[in-house]
């Protein structure tokens, strides 16, 4: 079992577990299209954040939801491929890709249709369908949600660093789906079904927080080149934002993305839950690279969620 799993199993939900870096830093980098030098950009981000990569087992977790290669639903496979190459170039012992889609069961067929086989070298060798992986029971000490335990795939605990690679999208229930919500994909459909409805019954926002806490060693790289606005995460429309947003503290990354999308982080419940339970506040986050103001562009919200708009 790798470091992530060991920590998850032994952590005791103290403020230490929730503790955020004193001054969490998030990188905002412009990338106008997927033909930009994304490998170079991601490599520089990892070096800038001094991410320990050499000799480590890396697990990339993109967001794969639908068959479409055109609609901005899935993390773009070119972005995933670039992340893979960046980690490899920095000496990672292994880089695997894993996802457990939440609506449809034929993961590899979906990955093929979405362009992963053509964009990512030796994709099938590197990829683990988390919906068909063997599982282990994880107890949640002091959970925020109604969950007391979860069965999770072995693969997500057999790594040194879990890298969340979400698409920057609005979400018609949670407000925004970014690096933290992306971890819903590690919950196995083989146990909980398609969708993983137990997460809805146990509290969507609360489960986002509980899953975040299970993986203390994370890095987040958000595909904000072409995002989704409106009735996300599936029925929305394309929104060009032209950015990569990255950092080692997912709540800080997500709060920064919200501001870029002109969504008020104060009104995103999973972020306020993190703030309530820790020494973190989204105002304490510093950004490097571009300023939020220079890249911010209002993502259209579902009409019912207009109250989330950042004033």
């Amino acid at each position: 079992m790798g470091v992530v799993g060991a920590l998850a199993l032994t952590s005791d939900c103290s403020r230490r577990e929730f503790a955020a870096p004193a001054s969490p830093r998030v990188s905002i980098i412009r990338a106008s299209s997927y033909s930009s030098d994304l490998t170079g950009i991601i490599r520089r981000i990892l070096l800038d954040h001094r991410v320990a990569v050499a000799g480590k087992k890396i697990l990339l977790k993109p967001n794969l939801v639908e068959f479409s290669a055109q609609a901005p639903i899935n993390t773009n496979p070119i972005f995933v491929s670039a992340a893979l190459e960046a980690f490899r170039s920095l000496g990672a012992a292994s880089v695997r890709i894993a996802e457990g889609p939440g609506h449809r069961r034929m993961t590899l067929d979906m990955a093929e249709a979405a362009g992963f086989f053509s964009a990512v070298p030796r994709f099938e060798e590197r990829f683990v369908d988390l919906n068909t992986d063997d599982v282990q029971r994880i107890s949640l000490a002091h959970p925020v949600s109604k969950l007391r335990q979860l069965y999770l795939p072995n693969t997500v605990f057999d790594c040194d660093l879990l890298v969340s690679l979400p698409k920057m999208k609005t979400h018609h229930w949670a407000g925004a789906t970014l690096s933290m919500k992306n971890l819903f994909g590690v919950v196995p459909g083989s146990v909980y079904g398609w969708p993983k409805n137990i997460l809805h019954w146990s509290g969507i926002d609360e489960c986002i927080v509980d899953l975040h806490r299970l993986f203390p060693r994370q890095f987040a790289l958000v595909d904000g080149i072409e995002g989704m606005e409106g009735n996300g995460p599936i029925l929305g429309t394309s929104k060009h934002a032209g950015v990569l947003v990255a950092g080692a503290h997912p709540p800080s990354v997500d709060a920064t993305c919200c501001q870029i999308m002109k969504i008020d982080p104060e009104k995103i419940r999973y972020l306020t839950l993190i703030a309530e339970k820790s020494n973190w506040s989204w105002q304490s986050v510093t950004q490097s690279g571009e300023s939020i103001a220079s890249v911010a562009s209002a993502f259209t919200l579902h009409p019912d969620l207009e109250y989330l708009r950042l004033k």
Partner: protein, 291 residues
């Protein structure tokens, strides 16, 4: 060697030493083992492999009557339907099935009372747990796939266990399916809630729901069948192709032959291809009565 023979070889080579099948790699799970057993039945296999598969499934039954997804997860789930279907023609291993059916019936989402229904209608709210359907996991909402498998299991066992009220409960579950169609006439995972009303349907769930509605002759299904034929022209996965063939064949519709596919990734893919091949010969184990 025929396509079906090649599929059978693939299926047998994926088997674990304990007599069960993995989802893809690793330990044996209930779902792929049940599907593999149904595939063996569909192809009239009578070897020890079939009886070991049946024994593996029978041995997994939980004290509460249901079946867990795998040995590592001690909670009974939707896979109980598949276990019941797969043991229906294995008389030596089916003694626990009446208890399994009782467990499955207990998971059905209850009807709302007249007053509750009126209030929900008046207030414009959807019931959190639509009545008549089955959940994937106990205590959660009903969805299209587990409800479809429940209907197939209840229908399969109805003649063998006439005192269990299975036809009535199957009809309620069919009503659930009919009320959870997408605007295009097909089915997706069941996400027709607020803010997802316009979600499109999927080929695989449309095919499976049509199979579960094999005995339903509602004229309302004409649009669903038309859509299924459209999906069948360009199936997006082997699983989708298999369910569409089975769903259309169950309604007496002409379907294309199962074409050899190279991209069979999972035990489920292989088993469903074998079952669909048999369904085209008029022998679909999902539609047979328990012996």
């Amino acid at each position: 060697m025929t396509y079906a023979e090649k599929l059978s070889m693939s299926l047998l080579s994926a088997r674990n030493a304990d007599g069960g099948w993995p989802l893809r790699h690793g330990h044996s799970w209930t779902e792929p083992t049940a599907l593999a057993l149904l595939a063996l039945q569909a192809n009239n296999d009578s070897t020890e492999i079939r009886s070991r598969a049946a024994a593996w499934i029978a041995n997994q039954q939980s004290p509460d009557g249901g079946w867990p997804p795998c040995a590592a997860v001690p909670t009974s789930t939707w896979v109980s339907s598949l276990a019941l279907l797969s043991l229906a023609r294995e008389k030596a291993y089916s003694s626990g099935c009446p208890r399994g059916l009782q467990w499955l019936m207990r998971q059905m989402c209850p009807d709302v009372s007249t007053l509750q229904g009126y209030l929900q209608h008046f207030l414009g709210i959807s019931p959190a747990r639509a009545p008549g359907g089955s959940p994937w996991f106990p205590g959660t909402s009903a969805w299209v796939i587990p409800t479809s498998f429940s209907i197939l299991a209840f229908s399969c066992w109805a003649k063998r266990l006439p005192d269990h009220g299975l036809p009535e409960i199957a009809v309620r579950a069919q009503d659930y399916l009919l009320s959870h169609r997408c605007p295009d006439g097909g089915w997706n995972h069941g996400g027709s809630l607020q803010r997802s009303e316009t979600s499109p349907s999927y080929g695989e769930t449309t095919g499976l729901a049509l199979l579960a509605l094999a005995h339903c002759r509602s004229p309302a299904l004409a649009g669903s069948l038309r859509l299924a034929r459209e999906f069948l022209r360009h199936p997006d996965s082997p699983e989708g192709l298999a369910w569409l063939v089975m769903g259309l064949a169950a309604h007496g519709q002409d379907t294309a032959e199962i074409r050899p596919l190279v991209s069979l990734k999972t035990t489920r893919d292989i088993a469903l291809q074998l079952i669909a091949c048999a369904a085209l010969r008029g022998h679909n184990p999902f539609l047979l009565s328990a012996v």
